[in-house]
């Protein structure tokens, strides 16, 4: 992984070469400096400030008047004279845990379905057939549509009185009365999942397809000659070979799903069944004027995602660095 160690030509001591390298290195530093500075200003510094805010009692109207309060926004407890202990802070807040649970449910279910469907679509697109280009163009459409627009489109299709989904299901006899898909607490999560799967399966499919196309065709021919059943070929040849690409696609999607905000904010506003960590955190930050409390929640979300990434890389022995994968 560390490419500086693999420097070739260790014996070249020519002065011109080393000065050329010096010049190149110096140029590289100057080329990187603006990008690194900008990135620090828009990502690093705001992140540090957010974490700092989470340990203060800053409010939205007075950003600089906050006092250091330690872990109060996370968890504190007071023992009453009666001996009862009362916990408060985010970690003792049921709405926060509800949001954590919603986020995990949403991420795991949507990414699993998308992986399976995406792989299926990729397997279809990996075949040669008439109109393949057209199909590939068609599946790019959900990906290109802005999330807000797709949330509105599906909101209309899932409308309880005039929606086409209810109309279709009624015609098929699957339901006998209109369902309020997005506002009903039992179906809200289901609606969100449907829309997310519809919107992001294409991305998954394209990444899987790229992985599939790297598998040499002669392996399949050999399997065909040996008369091995296609299902066995899939599980013993295709799946292991496409796994690295699949792992990367899954982590990309998972990170995206864990921070989901816009779809849920628009499709099922204020539904307890779908509010995710991002939604709850923004609510506190901006709408409820609990700026520091919201910062604590956003910091927790960041920590959860960071832990997840480390676990995933560690468990999957995943190498995200492009150098060795090729």
């Amino acid at each position: 992984m560390d490419t500086s160690l693999s420097l070739s030509k260790p014996n070249t001591k020519l002065k011109s070469v080393s000065s050329l390298r010096q010049q190149k290195l110096r140029a590289a530093m100057w080329f990187l400096a603006p990008m690194v500075t900008v990135l620090f200003c828009v990502a690093g510094w705001p992140l540090l400030r957010s974490i700092y805010f989470s340990f203060t009692d800053t409010s939205l109207t007075d950003l600089y008047g906050g006092q250091w309060v330690g872990f109060k926004n996370y968890l504190t407890w007071t023992t009453l004279s009666s001996g009862r202990t009362i916990f408060s802070g985010t970690l003792a807040d049921p709405t926060w845990w509800n949001a954590v649970w919603n986020t995990i449910k949403f991420s795991v279910v949507s990414v699993s379905i998308e992986t399976i469907l995406g792989l299926m679509v990729a397997l279809v697109l990996n075949q040669e057939f008439k109109g393949r280009g057209l199909v590939r163009a068609a599946i790019l459409i959900p990906w290109a549509i802005p999330t807000i627009v797709s949330a509105k489109m599906w909101g209309w299709m899932l409308n309880d009185q005039f929606g086409i989904i209810n109309h279709m299901l009624m015609a098929l006899g699957l339901i006998d009365s209109n369902v309020a898909w997005t506002s009903n607490i039992d179906t809200a999560m289901f609606s969100v999942l449907v829309v997310d799967v519809w919107k992001t399966t294409p991305f998954m499919a394209l990444l899987c397809l790229a992985g599939l196309q790297m598998i040499p065709r002669d392996i399949y021919e050999a399997a065909k000659i040996d008369g091995i059943h296609p299902v066995r070929v899939f599980f013993h040849v295709t799946l292991p070979l496409v796994r690295p690409a699949l792992m990367v696609a899954v982590i990309f999607r998972m990170l995206d799903a864990l921070r989901v905000f816009d779809l849920i904010y628009i499709l099922t506003p204020n539904s307890k069944a779908t509010k995710t960590m991002s939604v709850v955190s923004r609510e506190n930050l901006i709408e409820f004027d609990k700026f520091a409390y919201g910062s604590a929640q956003s910091t927790l979300l960041f920590a959860i995602i960071a832990i997840f990434v480390c676990l995933y890389i560690w468990l999957g022995k995943l190498n995200l660095n492009g150098d060795t994968q090729r």
Binding site: A28, I145, P146, L206, L258
Partner: protein, 276 residues
């Protein structure tokens, strides 16, 4: 023989169902956008009505037109800034060996996957401090957080694939790194720049969280926020026809772009994903 035909029929049915599921919601919103009044309340699978009133409403709505202009300005400025910073940086990352390169690349990748909510409080403070709250610059600044790492990452993978010989020949001719980038690599990188720029543009065009948080007045909204706010005062008066017309207006250009650059987009997405 019959089994084989059955198989291919089943295959084509699968293909057709994929296409129908992918396209139908958009098709349905196009149909809806041509309906007004009580026509909206009847479910039609095929176009029956052709009333342009929704489009006239949308295109006569000054605030909506303003939001399109805002979005175009914000997304293009963000992309130009990101590309400008990314070209030189990705040369250094792809072509120069230095200590900590792997770590820097990983950090850049990590930033592109940041949960945006984690920086919202800090960015809010910064936007207020700089006095750019409720102006396009707030979005241009904040969108850099995902466009810059993305463009750097994808351009680095593209640049790594350029043949070494070209660079060596240029070095022999006495070219400085700056000359190599601008005179030798840039002409070869145009396709990659277009793809990356387009993907970053789509990302900035679609962004919602920052745009919602950093704007206050109707004239400063971007397209996604404007569409989200088109809803009426109560649940019963959501102007579905207008919303669908507005959605079609802002989506059709994107879809056309995506279809034109189809191959390049797939290449760019997979360069950002599978290779790295």
């Amino acid at each position: 023989m019959i089994k084989r035909q059955l198989n291919s029929v089943a295959f084509y049915l699968l293909v057709i169902s994929i296409v129908v599921v992918a396209v139908f919601p958009f098709y349905y919103s196009v149909i809806t956008s041509f309906k007004t009044g009580t026509d909206l309340f009847s479910v039609d699978y095929f176009p029956k009505h052709f009333d342009l009133r929704n489009y006239r409403d949308v295109l006569n709505n000054d605030n909506f037109l303003r939001s399109i202009l805002n979005s175009v300005f914000i997304a293009s400025t963000t992309v130009v800034c990101a590309l400008f910073l990314a070209v030189t940086a990705s040369y250094a990352l792809a072509r120069v060996r230095f200590k900590g390169r792997g770590l820097l690349l990983m950090t850049i990748l990590a930033v592109s996957m940041f949960p945006q909510i984690a920086v919202l409080a800090g960015l809010f403070e910064m936007v207020r401090f700089l006095g750019i709250y409720n102006s396009p610059w707030a979005m241009i600044l904040s969108y850099t957080i995902f466009t810059l790492p993305f463009t750097v990452w994808v351009l680095t993978t593209f640049m790594r694939d350029l043949p070494v010989e070209i660079e060596e020949a240029a070095i022999v001719d006495g070219a400085t790194p700056w000359v190599i980038i601008t005179q030798v690599f840039l002409p070869l990188l145009w396709p990659a720049l277009v793809t990356t720029g387009l993907l970053a543009f789509i990302g900035a065009w679609n962004e919602f969280l920052f745009a919602l948080t950093f704007t206050a007045s109707e004239t400063m909204r971007t397209v996604p926020v404007a569409i989200a706010m088109l809803s009426g005062a109560s649940d019963h008066e959501i102007p579905w026809g207008t919303i669908m017309a507005a959605s079609v207006v802002v989506t059709v250009p994107l879809i056309i772009l995506v279809l034109i650059f189809q191959r390049k987009i797939v290449a760019g997405l997979t360069a950002g994903g599978v290779k790295g």
